[in-house]
Amino acid sequence: MAEDKARYVITGGSAAGMAAAQAITEQDLNGIITVLSEEPDMPYFRPLIPYMVTGKKSAGDMQMSGNGPYKGSGIDIHVNSRVDSVNVSERTVSINGQGNISYDKLLLATGSRPYLPPEIKGADANGVFALRTLADAKAMAERVSVTDHAVMIGGGLLNLKAAFALLERGVKVTLVVYSPEVLSQLMEPDDALLIRNALDRAGLKIKTGCSATGILSDKSGVTGVSLDDGSEMPCQMICIGKGVRPNVDFLSGSEIIIDQGIVVNRYTACNTPGTYAAGDVAVTFDPVTGERIMTGLWTNAVEMGRCAGYNMTGRKTAYSGTFGIMNATQIADEPFVSMGIVHTKNTDYEVHVRNTGSTYRKVVFSPDNDRLLGVLFIGDITGAGMYRYVIRENMPINEIKSLIINQRLHYGHFIRN
């Protein structure tokens, strides 16, 4: 009977939303699952969008449905459908200011949007991007034909990936970083030498300790950028990568508790009945520091989204939180993994650093030297997942400490000890 079927509504069609939808299809074979995405494109793997700029992948290559664990069947996906308010007592959401739809269980997975610093004047000019959506990437790819020089504002991973995509297209790229070094969220300046060398080899120009104050433009779009050291750089494209902010504005006036992001309990549930949140928009916690955090990582969003999906079907599943710092990737020819606590300046953590010239390894133990808190591996990331496991499970490390310091840990040590 129709009334027996649970109605699941998911706002947001990216990592958390789609992972939740997939998890629900596995648990509740009769549920009616509706995913509402404000984007014009069907759900896609967002981390792949730099390949739209290089031209190495098409939009079709990035589709979620039918790839990885995403079967795509049994999920009703609506694009161009922006949820603009939630009525928690009526259990309805309003879409595009038009009709309402009802839900039994609602997932808020609206993600985040790029933060555009208000002090950068003129950011509405043509050719200014904050690479977030597939639509952004398509527009950026089109702008390449009239771009000789691009300036990236912000030295995080997203801007580095965008920078490499542009370099591949033959564009000259300058990275303007306010911090003393790139990737300052994932490593300290002293740790970043190998990465910096790789960036230099790749031909990326970097200006550190410097920020943008204004964007110059005419009818052709961007013509340059002015910096706080008084200089100006001519350019035809600007990409702003200054972090993200959670998309919670549509919840103002609802009873759902917001503290920057949406506040949830260990079971990914909000304070109102039948309401859950996951992904970039949700406030979660770091099992190492115990701090409440929000992260903008695809992998975290999927894990939390799956957890929320299970909880929505009634399969109670605790979310174990995630490290505030966790990322793996390859920058030019240097692979690296950074996770847990890796910023150690002026702290009393026990820190072990080994630098071989081609690899760099930093291992951080608690001050009582009893627990592993974080690792940074550059050049050689062998077995990184086991170190993540040791940190996350808060394992006593006495017997395996020297193995951790020397990056010699393997799974056998867990089963033979």
Binding site: P69, V337, A384, Y411, G412, I415, R416
Partner: protein, 168 residues
């Protein structure tokens, strides 16, 4: 539906001869024979790892094809999926070499193919009835069985040992 088979490790039988590593690399080579494989460039890679734990433990480690595979869900490019047999597969064409799977695998069994800039892992030898590592193992330390059959054998072994002990 018949239960799929898995690769089990009987650690007490492993002598760390590393025959499985050679057999795995050969199976994943272009020529599929040892003499061809050792001259191939890039050199074919093994997906099984025989490790050592002091003082004399030998531990072959191979992908568990986890039921709730962290690598598959963590993958940011949709390159990892599970086939009908329950085998977790990495599609090299879709892999972008971001190493997120390496960051989340708690067993440390996902390798990085540096020349090709791709992640690689056990594929349970799709062209073979029995995976190469298992058929090559001279001491039967690697066993290809269903969960039920393997645990049934393990119970019989323990029961046999207990009975033998009572007879002393």
């Amino acid at each position: 539906m018949s239960q799929p088979k898995e690769i089990f490790v009987v650690m007490s039988r492993c002598t760390a001869c590393k025959t499985c590593e050679i057999a795995c690399a050969v199976e994943h080579s272009g020529s599929k024979n040892l003499y061809g494989a050792i001259s191939e460039k890039p050199i074919p890679k093994s997906r099984v790892y025989v490790e050592w734990v002091a003082p004399d433990g030998k531990v072959p480690i191979v992908c568990r094809h986890c039921e709730d595979a962290p690598c598959m869900h963590a993958c940011i490019s949709g390159a990892i999926s599970r086939d009908d047999e329950g085998v977790v597969i990495t599609d090299s064409d879709k892999c972008i070499g971001c190493w997120t799977c390496v960051m989340v695998c708690p067993y440390g069994v996902i390798g990085r193919h540096l020349e090709e800039h791709k992640a690689y892992r056990c594929d349970r030898c799709p062209d073979r009835e029995i995976p190469a590592c298992v058929s090559s193992c001279p001491t039967e330390a690697l066993v290809y069985q269903t969960v039920d059959a393997f645990s049934s054998d393990a119970r019989k072994d323990v029961a046999g040992e207990m009975l033998a002990g009572e007879g002393d």
